[in-house]
Symmetry: C2
Subunit: 248 residues, 2 copies
């Protein structure tokens, strides 16, 4: 059987997240349906990870096995012709039979968009977190450096996560001014359930003066979700890239 | 009576343009309705100009007269509470009785977003023009300089315009790389009907090799719409700013 890797962009606004569920529109469900329409096969899809309701992606990755004989260069156009306008397959690659989008991933980059304004911005609706308070970017940057490295991130995960270990490594964490909004870029070897949204929510609490930047190491050490800041809303979160070794 | 100036941002996707019409959702119609709900007055709105179906705005300006006694600092929150999420009043100012958003405007800036890609991008759906062809930015920049200055722009207007003169001055025209998309910024003392979209459509034809940059002066001189390029789609166009003398 052929093992096909897909890289997918989506606007998650209309979807109940990535993972297929009965009675809900999901991104995975739409992708499976598009593959079925082209190949007439009900394939099983292996995603690099779930995204929650309302979360977006520039580069979600998944793979599936198929007996289809469609040439690889025709697949992208064929699948995209069957997908709604808010989902698009950006790349299709044929992989070795053992490639698995989750097990072989060596890391991910997420991006989180927010803007600080007294007035809501219609052109950022469902695309960025509207922070009504004033934001002190310097305080936020001071807090960021404490997250980098290998830590037990129990304080920054929601319950419901089935991860075997709560230790993760954050390789980089930075803030980029994108003119209309600010963007937090966070790369790591993996992320616990809701971890990016809780890290960003905590940074915004720091920026708003509720938490001192120097207090972050204590929050990490506490291994207690109640010590960290709020969960930032889903609409600002983008799964930007899933990393693999070059052979994948 | 009080003369109130509004600066409005909107995502034009759902609207049949700015101008109020029976049996169609329009931005002006929604703004009038919101003002009615707060003041109980059916006001007449004077817009700086119309925007077409699907065109967006960061800074559309309009004014209206009212007998309402609502303090100016309460108006923005009151009106916004009655507007849908894709329209937002960014600023409310009380003006001299003679201020008129169209007659007193001394110029406008529009921005046009496009991206060149073999694959459509869901996160730019309805927000930028998807150009499937490769784009030569250098050719585009070469063509831009010929538009700057005072010209008869008859070749760059759609029929249906009621403007008294077809002479307009373009103060600046530049292209900005916004990472996910390219953005054309165009400022001038005024624009004919569809002028920005035809200028951009022509620039994209230049970039795709269909028109030579050096041919632009001849197209302007021809005063013939058929010599210019295609009308670029509405979804990429943003009314960015309306300029007034400092006293306004």
């Amino acid at each position: 059987m052929r093992n096909i890797k897909l890289t997918i962009e989506y606007d998650g606004t209309r979807y109940n997240g990535w993972q297929k569920q009965p009675d809900h529109m999901t991104v995975e469900g739409e992708v499976m349906e598009a593959i079925y329409k082209i190949t007439r096969e009900h394939v099983k899809i292996y995603g690099s990870g779930r995204t929650d309701k309302g979360v977006h992606a520039y580069g979600q990755v998944c793979n599936f096995y198929t007996n289809s004989k469609i040439p690889i260069y025709k697949m992208r156009i064929a699948f995209n012709s069957q997908l709604p306008m808010d989902i698009s397959i950006r790349e299709v690659e044929e992989m070795d039979s053992e490639f698995h989008s989750r097990y072989h991933s060596i890391g991910k980059q997420y991006r989180y968009r927010f803007y600080s304004d007294k007035v809501r911005r219609p052109l950022l609706e469902n695309r960025a977190f509207h922070v009504y308070k004033d934001i002190d970017h310097d305080r936020m940057k001071q807090a960021m450096k404490y997250f980098i490295g290998t830590h037990d991130f129990t304080s920054f995960k929601s319950t419901g996560s089935s991860a075997k270990t709560t230790i993760r490594t954050i390789h980089s964490l930075e803030m980029v001014d994108r003119e209309e909004f600010m963007e937090v870029h966070i790369s790591g070897n993996g992320f616990l359930y809701n971890m990016v949204r809780i890290v960003v929510g905590t940074l915004i609490d720091v920026a708003a003066g509720k938490i001192d930047p120097e207090h972050i190491p204590d929050i990490i050490k506490a291994k207690d979700r109640t010590k960290a800041g709020k969960l930032a809303p889903a609409c600002g979160l983008y799964l930007y890239k899933v990393y693999y070794n070059s052979k994948n």
